[in-house]
């Protein structure tokens, strides 16, 4: 009980928590274990909010952990003979540490709303660029054919190889044929579950060309891990050239376009 060294040892262990915590978050970006490259317009805002919360919680984290450390260090029974303070609380302190966090949290919630609304609620008024239909364990894609409308006989059908134009809004219509899936584009900061029976719109504006991962982020069965697609962002002309090349390929392999529709799960896709 009278061993001061033990108290010092345990206090330092608790001091190690904020040091280790800050160190991990400081080193992580340096070794490239950090937010993947963002190539979308709204992604910058999401990342900013992430950093904002990281800063705020970081300050609270370090502050409270240091108070904890200091209390353990200073008030070790072996460190002094002073009796413990006989106090049951403080009304003022309770009010202070209720109102300040309440205000901060409320501010934080309100501060998020506009970005959330832009990404998930203010849908651009345009026809879908492409329909993504999730299925165990692949991403089926359907582009409107020459008639510019989805769900007609001349649609272009592809699997896992999504191409989209950059510098303009794109609207994806997301569906599922079987179980739940989640359409996750890490580099675009987009995630949306695909739900059988629902048609869910997803929109964003990519700002850079490149090829990136499509990840399934909702458990969908044994092959969940391999439900991988690729998304290629390219300027409008290349995108259109690619589209017509793929369309020509489809025409060549399947001369009668009427026969191409059934496999796309239209019982659900028609919803």
């Amino acid at each position: 009980m009278r061993n001061r060294l033990a108290g010092i040892f345990w206090a330092l262990l608790f001091l190690a928590v904020p040091i280790f915590g800050v160190a991990v978050f400081a080193v992580a970006p340096a070794i490239d274990v950090w937010l993947p490259k963002d190539v979308s317009e709204h992604g910058v805002r999401i990342d900013e909010l992430f950093y904002f919360i990281l800063g705020l919680t970081g300050i609270v984290f370090v502050g409270t952990e240091l108070v904890l450390f200091w209390s353990i260090w200073k008030y070790d029974a072996a460190a002094n003979d002073r009796p413990a303070t006989y106090i049951h609380g403080s009304h003022t302190l309770e009010v202070v540490w209720t109102i300040i966090p309440a205000a901060l949290l409320l501010f934080l919630a309100i501060y998020q709303m506009n970005t959330w609304a832009d990404v998930k609620m203010r849908r651009p008024n345009m026809p879908p660029t492409v329909e993504v239909i999730a299925r165990q364990f692949e991403w089926r894609l359907r582009y409107p054919g020459p008639d510019g409308e989805l769900g007609t006989a001349d649609d272009l059908h592809l699997v896992n190889d999504l191409h989209l134009p950059i510098d303009e809004d794109v609207l994806i219509q997301l569906k599922s044929m079987d179980v739940l899936h989640s359409f996750f584009l890490p580099n675009v900061r987009i995630k949306q579950d695909a739900v059988p029976g629902m048609k869910i719109p997803v929109w964003f504006k990519a700002t850079e060309s490149g090829v990136f991962d499509i990840v399934c982020a909702e458990l969908c069965g044994w092959g969940h891990y391999k439900m991988k697609g690729r998304v290629t962002f390219e300027p409008r002309p290349q995108f259109e050239a690619w589209l017509s090349r793929k369309y020509a390929e489809q025409q060549a392999t399947q001369p009668s376009p009427e026969s191409t529709t059934p496999d796309s799960g239209d019982s659900l896709a028609a919803n």
Binding site: A6, W10, F14, V24, F25, V33, I46, L49, F50, L54, T64, L68, S71, I72, Y75, D76, A77, P83, A84, T85, Y86, I87, H88, G89, L93, E94, W97, T98, L105, L106, L108, A109, Q112, T115, W116, V119, K120, M121, D178, V179, L180, F184, P186, I190, K191, D193, A194, V195, G197, M198, I200, V215, A217, L219, G221, W222, H224, G265, S267, L268
Partner: protein, 616 residues
């Protein structure tokens, strides 16, 4: 203040006046009473302490199983498709290498075991049972038979979950959340056959057990408090248990109903959770006309309050342990009680934050974001009050205290990381990544499990009459603390990369292929963490028989259980406890000793009694 409710316990004749120390379970102590007596004393016992210990032993055993499942999961994440050492022999049909469907089963059952067979029953079942009557000064629970049944209803659950590993297709593999249609459609996954049916049956029995316990706890705490034990003289442990019981009572029926709906979808061909025309794996579509999101709403309406069921009792126990070893009154007792109530109340209106990306109306997401942000407030108030409690104290570094302090330290991390997910735009990126895995392991392992260990080291003397070895206790604490942070803290930055959970092998993605070394590090830490528990197991069993004998009050604590014998006999108290004050009167100025027990008569009365005795 309500006046002292002098409720006489209905079975007061059980109180053995001056029960000798050794009379733990007096029925069984006489030889030759036969097998019937042995069964009624140790097996189908109605004594809350025996039932509490039954819960404790069962849940610790499942804790071991859950931990091994976790190691198997970690093995696959760190070194996908490589032979699993030791454990690999258990699934020899795959030749030691894990099949992806086996992996999905592992993490499903890891979570299921840890949540439904370890955390919930160890808090409410083990500690709730053991502590409630002792800490309120009752001789037993209000309904002893119901109490016995609450334990024995766990066994069908143990059997169902256990047996599901051996049925065709293996145990459930749809995640512990069992989202339909994956869980309802037999063709959608190997584990969605009998494994899932047994899972639902097991879950129902766990629910029945919890409900029996919950009704009992509420009744006991309301009606059977010792004379003088007003509600606002209850220790925080009891407040937390009480509010947890209320949460259980209100939330559980929803889960039970939802479970039966899913069972009916699977076995009777209804379509509560399946839309029209679902084609899974080319199988014939079922009835349809339902909605997969309905399950998520019902499930999380229970399972979010359940998150608080999984932490509130630990918060209560930690509050009591911190005051004992800081030798200081709890800072802000009433705000602590109100914040527990606040967490419970708000806990019912935040379930939607599990569904931000689910396809639920995004406008609804905004309201759930606000309520979720606000629930951080009572948690923050609690944390500040814990800090206020140890500030200015005289800290004694017992093993229990170290675990309690680490609960506070780790809960800060778990609480703050929750804010990231509550912020809907940020959640778009980190939802279903390792960020959330880090978050809930900080709350449930680094939080609740630390609180549970604190509780075990603290109340062990009351349970078994002996103290656990402090040196090995501290070694256990130190190694667990180090390995735990090595395992879970790094998960935050994996989450920042977007590393998704539940993937058997994520390294074929360009975004994640460089994360294998970090995962290997975490797996080594996890192995160390599980291995450390061998120290705990040996200490636990050794101390039970050979530890130093503890008196009634080895920690000089104030609450009622410490005035009973260690271990208490059947009927608990060898005197009628009368409560004179709150539970946290430590270091009262002018008082000889640094603690004033709830049962210590007030000074004036003591002086008067002494004077009367002298005059006699």
């Amino acid at each position: 203040m309500t006046p002292p409710t002098a409720v006489t316990a209905p079975t007061v004749d059980h109180v053995h006046v001056s029960v000798p120390q050794s009379s733990h379970a007096p029925h069984g102590s006489t030889p030759g009473r036969g097998i019937g007596h042995f069964l009624s004393t140790y097996v189908f016992s109605k004594d809350h302490k025996v039932i509490g210990l039954q819960f404790l032993f069962s849940t610790l055993l499942w804790f071991l199983i859950g931990g091994l499942l976790a190691l198997a999961v970690r093995w696959q994440v760190a070194w996908p498709w490589s032979d699993v050492p030791v454990l690999g022999k258990l699934f020899a049909q795959e030749g030691g290498q894990m099949a992806p469907e086996f992996y999905t089963m592992l993490f499903t059952m890891h979570a299921t075991v840890m949540i439904f067979l370890v955390i919930i029953p160890i808090l409410a079942g083990a500690f709730g049972n053991f502590l409630i009557p002792l800490m309120i000064g009752a001789d037993d629970m209000a309904f002893p038979t119901l109490n016995m049944l609450s334990y024995w209803f766990m066994w069908p659950a143990f059997a169902a979950f256990g047996a599901s590993f051996f049925v065709e297709g293996g145990a459930a593999a749809g995640g512990w959340t069992s989202y339909p249609p994956l869980s309802t459609n037999v063709a959608s996954a190997p584990g969605s056959g009998w494994g899932q049916t047994l899972w639902l049956i097991g879950l129902t029995f766990v629910g029945v057990s919890s409900m029996l316990g919950s009704v009992n706890y509420m009744t006991t705490i309301i009606l059977m408090r010792a004379p003088g034990m007003t509600m606002f003289r209850l220790p925080m442990t009891i407040w937390a248990m009480f509010i947890t019981a209320v949460l259980q009572a209100f939330a559980l029926p929803v889960l039970t109903a939802a479970g039966f709906m899913q069972l009916s979808d699977r076995m009777l061909g209804t379509g509560f959770f399946s839309p029209e025309g679902l084609i899974i794996n080319n199988a014939t579509p079922g009835a349809g006309g339902g909605q997969p999101l309905l399950w998520q709403h019902l499930f999380w309406f229970y399972s979010h309050p359940a998150v608080y069921i999984m932490i509130l009792p630990a918060m209560g126990m930690v509050s009591d342990i911190l005051t004992t070893f800081a030798r200081k009154p709890l800072f802000g007792y009433r705000p602590m009680v109100y914040s527990v109530a606040g967490i419970a109340g708000l806990g019912f209106i935040v379930w939607g934050h599990h569904m931000f990306m689910s396809g639920m109306n995004p406008a609804l997401g905004i309201t759930f974001m606000v309520s979720t942000m606000m629930i951080a407030l009572p948690s923050a108030v609690k944390t500040f009050n814990w800090l206020g409690t140890i500030w200015g104290g005289r800290i004694q570094f017992t093993t229990a205290m170290l675990f309690a302090l680490s609960f506070v330290s780790m809960f800060i991390i778990g609480g703050l990381s929750g804010i990231f997910m509550a912020a809907t735009p940020v959640d778009i990126f980190i939802h279903d990544t390792y960020f959330i895995v880090a978050h809930f392991h900080y709350v449930l392992f680094a939080g609740t499990a630390m609180g549970v260990w604190a509780g075990i080291y603290y109340w062990f003397p009351k349970m078994f009459g002996r103290t656990m070895n402090e040196f090995w206790g501290k070694v256990h604490f130190f190694l667990t603390f180090i390995f735990m942070n090595g395992t879970f803290f790094t998960m935050h930055i994996l989450g920042a990369v977007g590393f998704p959970r539940r993937l058997a092998d994520a390294y074929h993605y360009e975004t994640f292929h460089h994360l294998q070394p970090m995962n290997a590090f975490m797996t080594w830490c996890a192995i160390g963490m599980v291995a450390t528990q061998i120290i705990f197991a040996i200490n636990f069993f050794w101390s039970m028989f050979y530890g130093p004998v503890a008196g009634r009050n080895p920690w000089n604590a104030n609450t009622l259980e410490w005035s009973a014998p260690s271990p208490p006999g059947h009927g608990n108290f060898d005197f009628q406890p009368v409560v004179y004050r709150g539970p946290y009167e430590y270091s009262v100025p002018g008082c000889e000793k640094d603690h004033l027990m709830q049962t210590d008569p007030p000074n004036q009365a003591a002086a008067a009694a002494a004077a009367a005795l002298a005059a006699h």
